[in-house]
Subunit: 135 residues, 2 copies
DNA sequence: TTTCAGTTTATAATAATTCTAAAGTAAAAA
DNA sequence: TTTTTACTTTAGAATTATTATAAACTGAAA
């Protein structure tokens, strides 16, 4: 992903490309594979691997703007912290409770044969399969 | 469920049957169908519908003891609050984001035909299906 | 009774997240 | 280019859910 795409991510999220936001976007999107992160892990990376300074609020705001724009998704993990995902395709997860690690499962790897119909007046928005792991 | 069963729930959770705990156990278990709750909703009920006084810590402690004893399970819902479930069978959920309501799906209503194998050295502990609803 | 382990409670501490308002900066207008 | 405007960053405060603490209380057993 080139710098022009980073700028597109930012612009399409309604964000001016400031140096903080460019660093965040580069870390999140300028890579070959998607990944999962928390605000905490993101902040750790940014403070260690970049020269610029980041207020926590800036990180929260930027991540939420990306999420609202559909460039990030949120994964529901038991526990206190919110997990974000740069994989915005419809997919599922393994969760390793020992290591607190999320592992992607491509949607094609899960086939559901039978599912109940939605309650009256409601529709199914999406189906999330979450597979807990043990040793 | 009779009072003797309430006492069993308490004793099997390592809890003496105090008046607070009996009220909590009665509300959670003395009913025909299972349900989902948060600490907050539980507290609201207890303060409104009973005469006795409840410190928040007592509610947290009692609920956690029930969970540890296997009388309650926890459901992963996006958002800040922890949801508990008096349905401790293996089952799945609809989640209505509009109303923040969880609806049970019996395990038999979901049939999964294909699932990836667990990563090396890991085993599958359980599979949770979470169906988000929309209007 | 007295004792003692277990319990409740008010309050403080913690942790993730959100809010605020002042100071700074990028982009638009002149 | 300068001025103006709107957006941004920031430190710190506020909020919210949860957990910890330690003193007062209770109830069964010695
Ligand atoms: Mn969660
Ligand atoms: Mn959750
Ligand atoms: Zn993922
Ligand atoms: Zn349930």
């Amino acid at each position: 992903m080139k710098k022009v795409d980073i700028f597109k991510k930012l612009r399409s999220s309604g964000l001016r490309p400031t140096k903080q936001r460019v660093e965040i976007a580069k870390f999140l999107f300028d890579r070959d594979t998607t990944f999962h992160f928390t605000i905490d892990s993101l902040e750790n990376h940014l403070t260690k691997k970049t020269t610029c300074k980041f207020a926590l609020a800036t990180i929260y705001n930027t991540v939420h703007a990306f999420k609202k724009a559909g460039h990030l998704s949120e994964v529901d993990v038991r526990g206190k912290k919110t997990y974000f995902d740069t994989n915005i395709t419809n997919h599922h997860h393994f969760y390793d409770n020992e290591t607190s690690e999320l592992i992607d499962i491509d949607a094609s790897e899960v086939v559901i044969q039978k599912i109940p119909k939605a309650p009256n007046g409601k529709k199914i928005k999406n189906v999330e399969v979450f597979i807990n792991l043990k040793n």
